[in-house]
Amino acid sequence: MRKIWDIHGGIHPPENKAQSLDHSIEFAGIPAQLILPVSQHIGAAASPIVQIGDTVLKGQCIAEAVGPVSVPIHAPSSGTITAIEDRPIAHPSGLDDLCIVIDTDGRDTWHQPPSSRDFTQLDKATLVELIHNHGIAGMGGAGFPTSIKLNVGEPNNIKTLILNGTECEPYITSDHVLMREYSRKLAQGIAILAKLVQPEEILLGVEDNKIDVVAGLQNALKQHDFSALTGKATSAEVITFPTKYPSGGEKQLIEILTGKQVPTGSLPASLGIVCQNLGTAVAISDAVIDDRPLISRITTVTGQAVTKPRNFEVLLGTPVEYLLARSGYNASINNRLVMGGPMMGFTLLDITMPVVKTTNCILAPTEAELPTPPPAQACIRCGLCAEACPASLLPQQLFWFAQGKELEKLEQHNIADCIECGACSYVCPSNIPLVQYYRASKAEIRQRDADMQQAEHAKLRFDARQERLDRLEAEKIAARQARQAKAAANKAAQAGQDPKAATVAAALARVGAKKSALEPTHKAPASDPAPDATLATDVDDPVQRAIARRATQQQADTANPAAALQRAVESAEARLKKARLRLTNAEAEQDNNVDAFKLAVDKCQSKLNQARAALDAHHAAKNL
């Protein structure tokens, strides 16, 4: 018996998995319309290579990868492209994103019928390319392009390949049924993975609430000679461990199976570990052996608002609406539709959103099943959250600092190591939405870092520009002084004095000029502790002039919005006049840019009209 380790914290929420386990996987069918977001993975969005009106066949590539961190997208069924536009996508924000819409023809014609391939004959590069070209991205959590994760190089230091069969979230059973019914394919996928990363051991981690699949998995794994694939004495084991949420987090699973903690900020590969999702392994088997791109996945539809909870094999792009209709969905008793599980899933605001590569569950609970949280009470620092935190953080302290927006304190308390599993919020007796605090704070930290970087960069460029301007100015002065010195020397020479003395005088003058030329550069940054705006106009620099202009404008402008509008009208009028003048000049000179100036006049006119309208509207509103 292999030793297993325990993780800190964790919780035992009601599992609610039995509801969807009664039935075997059912093919959901071909919906009338498939909506395929071009960004279903982490990294750059894929770029559509089809046009509206094109006929596409099943498995045909419809959007290609852009850059290295991206994957292509394939048509899940045959039909016609009817739209390439922004549609609501499966994302917590509920925002729209670019989607390719296919009206299916129901014939489901293959672009290239699946064939069979012997993967053992393929080299690693080909395997990685196949995985990439078939659009495979991690199907468990974030959707990271799988080919990058597997491109571990040669020779590599990977010792352990971990297959994540934990599925610790309540309700979700898609991996469970996958292990139950697709064990052969899964073993094939694992074999391909083994050939790719050449581990010394393969560990398939399964929580002990799925004990029924273990025997089948062991049999399936026995069909493969992993040592032959890796060239090492590779063993493959199915390991069960006690059910606890969130054992299925990658970092947590690694600790349970190996006792090691992934150092913060680094990847499991730094410990010689590669972790893969089960769905991904099956997709790899499909891609490499059957030449079938990732066009469908297994998704659990469950919750008390559906009468027929079960697992579907779903074409990607299938609207959630379609799946729910097939499951006996009762919209009147459901006020929260969750994509993913109850711990980490996000709510959908629109049931037309499509299933994507990472959609493992659609949860339609009733209010009684997952009640809406009551208003948050005060944090009494009971510490239950710290007991539950799998990352050994102090959630109550993080909450405190997040409220006060103390970003540095948050960083000191390692907010970056929060995996947003929700265990803290689950146990919180005061119903504080802790995870939301952490997400918002993390975003704020990211934004602050980006801003700081941007500011630093802008400062460098500003300083460089300032230096350049100073240098040019100095050179100009130096040239002038040199000219004067030369003239003086010439004059002196003409006067018939000692030519040697004249040369010396000229040299001295040059040195002096150089010195004075250099001085402004040295002094420039701290020349005047409080330079005022008028000073700026003395310098011949368009930036400073623009700034000075603005300063005078601001003086004229008061907090009164009418004045600002009035100013907008005036400035538009002035600009129009200027534009007209330029146009007449240009026309007189037969300039090539006459058209551009004409356009500018038109635009100024329309802007003036707008400004006037705004001013009128303001007056009207004021008079009301």
Binding site: Q436, Q454, K459, Q466, P529, R550, A596, A600
Partner: protein, 206 residues
Amino acid sequence: MFELILTNPFLAAVLALLALGLVFGAVLGFGAITFKVEGDPIVDQINAILPQTQCGQCGYPGCKPYAEAIASGDLINKCPPGGEAGIHALADLLDVEVIALDDEHGMEDIRKVAFIREDECIGCTKCIQACPVDAILGAAKLMHTVIVSECTGCDLCVEPCPVDCIDMLPVATGKNAWSWDLPNPTVNPSPIIASDREPGRKDAAA
């Protein structure tokens, strides 16, 4: 001598205080030299907080001059791009009261970048000269374009353009830029206790 001190309590007290003063003075002097903090000059620290848009909305020709002005006593609320967060950071650094942004210098706005409608550009280079961070690329009689990653959104290039072909567009938002907001705790109409105040709300009493 010793007797004199003993019999004269006033003298004893003065001497004792003097001795204590000397000892502590020596300790403090020693500490000041040994544990001297080699910090940034205050101007650099202020400048590090300013957003470096170099937009001049504060009335100074760039961020550094404004930093110098703050160091010599100017108000900290004249930087709209830095916004409320910037004012808080400056208030923390300088240990002064947080004050509301002075809207005479503009409002806090979402981040924007300049965008040149390239088919309308006549290649006059006026915007190139106006850009404080050299973020516009182009040459005389040739079309110009803004290097988005370098643009600070100061909008100093908009005014000089003779054909008005520069727009200030919001920086792309989308699902990647989206994030959850901080939850809004129970709303309090008139908080009298500090913690009752909504985070981020400016209060006259603050």
